[in-house]
Amino acid sequence: MALLRITSPHTQRAGRRTSWVMQMVILATIPGIVVQTWLFGWGTLINLMIACITALLSEAAILAIRRRAVGFFLKDYSALLTAVLLGVALPPVVPWWVTVTAVAFAIIFAKQLYGGLGNNPFNPAMVGYAIVLVSFPVPMSQWLGVQSMIPAGETLSFMQSLQAIFHHLPVIDSYTMATPLDGFKHKDLLDSQAAFSNIAALQGPSLNSWLWVNAAYLVGGLGLIWLRIITWHTPAALLGALLVMAGVFHLIDPSNTATPFFHLTTGAAMFGAFFIATDPVSSCTSNRGKLIYGAGIGILIYIIRSWGGYPDGVAFGVLLMNFAAPLIDYYTQPRTYGHKKAKSGLKVGEDN
């Protein structure tokens, strides 16, 4: 009788594997992807395809070089998730080499060099995004406009998208326009009211389209919370901090700042809050830590949006807080059963 000899516990919760978690997160982005495709054309989907292929290839290559089980690790879907998150974050008709650069950099440098899944200190998707943002600012600022606002009058067709991505579309300028955040950033001397009435990107249809995108990601994110794949702490703290920051500054100086609602419904606010900041590997561990971590991102987003050099601050905010997460972890340990107070820091030898 060959009996198994293993450690307890001998049962496990069925089905909830790491790959299932990753799949669920990918599925939760679908509402957002649908809305983006509907509003900004096929470019999003083509980008996604390029990103996914690049991610799988680069992950497989590194695993092969490291002589790890390629199939075993690819099946955890983590590379695919990174690709999806990066794909939807990039502008829809960004040239293919930008996407490839971003995804390959994310997978190779931000993830595999640190030892692969579970070991990466930075969010790979955001590393990829930031690297192309600082390297190729021009293509990265070419967001397609909503069809009713742009001079061309309609979104790019599938073939046009392909052409724009893989070759060069001379008329691309007539399809692109600034995002609301970009527009607001470059209002220059106008006050808020004038900016909202004068700048094209800040007018109804554009704002509404971004509202739709954010709403779709909110739905996906709530689904994740409902499935208990993420906890509410990080998104709530992030959005709360952003809301408070925007609210306070708007109350102080309403003429030069945007409303809190504007901050929450444009850019990557919801996407960042539910899909990027909640990446468990690079975020904080304890619930208290997650609150601090989320709030930090929210504050940084507002700072970078309002005073920094980039229109949106989600990527940098997340990276900066990734950077701080290990330290936060050390100082936010929960109080263990039977202890009077929580331990903090790493001072060894002291006990209570």
Binding site: N119, P121, A130, G308, L327
Partner: protein, 193 residues
């Protein structure tokens, strides 16, 4: 007042000495292995930087300038810095032998830490006044400490990660530092000074 605050924000975040200006990388890579050590090093560096920017300002303004000896600034700054570092070393040796032991060669190396001389020289070139000089030195030190401590906490995690063998140690440390610098680019254009 706002001006002073801006100096601090600028030196700590926007023009961070380590991650943006890439000064003082030697202790940044060398002493970030353990959180406790890096906190000690951060404190020592803060002390040295603040004191040396103060001293070098005084030396420059009240000794070199009146006699028209500005061309002696570098050599006299080095003198000032060496003394401050030596002094700090003695204090650390007395108060925390283990820290002294752990900091090892890096403690005297603060002398040649380019950040220290850099602060002193930048103070002169920016024509900072007395308070500004101190704040500039202090801000640079805080920025250095800030990233050093965060970096050491992160390195403790990286050290136990499954990093490919060839990238273990300093290599992955440099990559991490690069990614951190990337993150700090988010602060670009935050404050124009």
């Amino acid at each position: 007042m706002t001006e002073y605050l801006l100096i601090l924000v600028s030196t700590i975040l926007v023009n961070n000495f380590v991650l943006v200006q890439f000064l003082g990388l030697c202790p940044f890579m060398g002493v970030s292995g353990k959180l406790e050590t890096s906190i000690g090093m951060a404190m020592a560096t803060t002390f040295v930087l603040t004191l040396s920017s103060l001293c070098s300002y005084l030396t420059y303004t009240y000794i070199l300038q009146p006699f028209g000896l500005e061309y002696l600034q570098t050599i006299s700054f080095i003198l000032v810095i060496a003394v401050v570092v030596q002094f700090t070393e003695m204090v650390v040796h007395k108060t925390s032998p283990l820290l002294y032991r752990v900091l090892g060669i890096f403690l005297p190396l603060i002398t040649t830490n380019c950040a220290v001389l850099g602060v002193a020289l930048q103070n002169i070139s920016k024509q900072n006044g007395f308070v500004e000089s101190i704040l500039y030195g202090f801000g640079a030190a805080v920025g250095f400490s800030f990233v050093l401590i965060l970096f050491s906490a992160m390195r403790e995690r990286i050290n136990v990660a499954d990093v490919p063998t060839v990238f273990k140690g300093s290599a992955i440390g440099m990559i991490t530092a690069g990614l951190m610098a990337l993150a700090f680019m988010g602060f670009t254009a935050l404050v124009q000074i």
